[in-house]
């Protein structure tokens, strides 16, 4: 197996590219940072607070890996990029995935 171009070792977590869930139409409305999202497929409605709303909207505009998402959030809210922020955003991505709003695929270059 050719592994030469893979920049990640087997011990490191496999990077993911995150994007809005494919094949689903969402209706949404934003008020004061909060976002209410309606999944027209499942009929589920979710209220996203400011940070998760910004992540979701960012991923609707373009798929992104964790580093890009962290950078975007840090720029938008003037946060300092540190491990705590990365962990927090990573947890939010998992939550948004559980809500079936976003999905991920492995990405060797992310």
């Amino acid at each position: 197996m050719e592994l030469g171009n893979n920049t990640h070792t087997s011990q490191e977590p496999v990077p993911h590219r995150w994007q809005q869930l494919n094949g689903v139409d969402f209706l949404q409305r934003r008020w004061e940072g909060e976002l209410v999202v309606y999944n027209t497929g499942s009929g589920d409605t979710h209220l996203l607070e400011t940070l998760s709303a910004e992540i979701f909207i960012h991923l609707q505009e373009q798929p992104a890996g964790l580093p890009q998402i962290v950078e975007h959030i840090a720029d938008t809210f003037l946060y300092e990029v540190d491990e705590e922020l990365k962990t927090h955003i990573s947890d939010m991505l998992v939550q948004l995935q559980k809500l079936r709003l976003i999905e991920s695929e492995t990405c060797a270059t992310c």
Binding site: R29, E32, E34, V36, L47
Partner: protein, 303 residues
């Protein structure tokens, strides 16, 4: 013609035979019954309501009647029939009138899908409506009754209907359902209020109904523009608190308290979103009805 324009004998005969058709807001309800508590309660509580001719169309056909057979005499029961079908298990005969009211709510909640329907009380003042979605026990009906007794027009104590074409609240004024302690609270709050006899040991405890004002009945075709969504919370001994809710949280409360948000699909989402766009939302904690009504008055006059 109002119900009270009939003689009691004519009313009773119609109720027993062909049915009496009452109009409340956009709905006409044909009701039949020979059960004394139903006969007396409708007569007392619906006296001001338009009573249609028996040839007229009725949206809902309701019959409150006893079962045949031995249960007629042994632990007597009562059935709610809707278009000659009984959607519920029978209840003790004592619950006949409350069953009529609960059944009417069921009819509207199950068939009026051209409206966004929210489990909420709704009253109007100066052309603006306050919507009060809240779970049982929150004091919603008590507060609604108190407002109705202090000049607010009652649109409904139970079902807020929003016309999705124009976002206006559509009245369905019916007697206010009071439960347990709230019955005496309202009698003490306004001794001139007409509260019908109490029905004890129902599924919801002791239940009594308050007659709504003639004005609320007469203006039942007059819609109102929603201006506030207020979540009432009765908390004994608490001081008044009026806390603003975010639009997102207001949306979720309205959606969770809607009977047909899911049924309406995209229309439900858009309907709730537009309602949120045009209303201010608060959580209102209270323990004293007079103080509570005063706060609502200030809200109505300040906006």
């Amino acid at each position: 013609m109002r119900l009270a324009d009939l003689s009691f004998d004519t009313y009773q005969d119609r109720l027993a035979e062909r049915g009496v058709i009452l109009q409340t807001g956009p709905f006409s309800i044909s009701v039949k019954s020979r059960i004394p508590s139903v006969i007396e309660s409708i007569w007392a509580l619906y006296r001001d309501y338009p009573c249609l001719d028996n040839q007229d169309f009725a949206d809902f056909h309701i019959d409150i009647r006893k079962p045949k057979g031995i249960r007629r005499w042994f632990h007597p029961q009562v059935y709610f029939y809707f278009d000659d079908h009984a959607p519920f298990q029978p209840l003790p005969l004592n619950d006949a009138y409350p069953l009529f009211e609960w059944g009417m709510n069921w009819c509207v909640a199950n068939f009026a899908h051209r409206y966004l329907m929210i489990h909420a009380a709704v009253c109007e003042r100066n052309g603006k409506a306050v919507i009060m979605p809240a779970p049982p026990g929150s004091g919603k009906s008590t507060l609604c009754a108190a407002l109705a007794l202090r000049g607010w027009r009652l649109l409904s104590d139970e079902l807020t209907l929003i016309d999705l074409q124009n976002q206006l609240a559509v009245p369905v004024p019916r007697p206010v359902s009071l439960k347990n302690e709230s019955i005496d609270v309202i009698k003490g709050f306004e001794p001139s209020a007409y509260v019908n006899r109490s029905f004890e040991d129902t599924n919801k405890g002791t239940v009594a109904h308050m007659r709504v004002s003639t004005e609320s009945v007469d203006r039942a075709m007059e819609t109102a523009k929603p201006a506030w969504v207020i979540l009432p919370k009765y908390k004994a001994g608490s001081s008044l608190q009026l806390e603003k809710n975010s639009p997102g949280h207001s949306f979720m409360w309205l959606a969770e308290n809607s009977f047909n948000y899911s049924v309406l699909g995209k229309g439900g989402f858009t309907g709730v979103a537009e309602l949120v766009d045009h209303t201010e939302s608060y959580t209102f904690t209270y323990s004293d009805l007079d103080e509570a009504v005063e706060i609502f008055e200030q809200l109505a006059t300040s906006s």
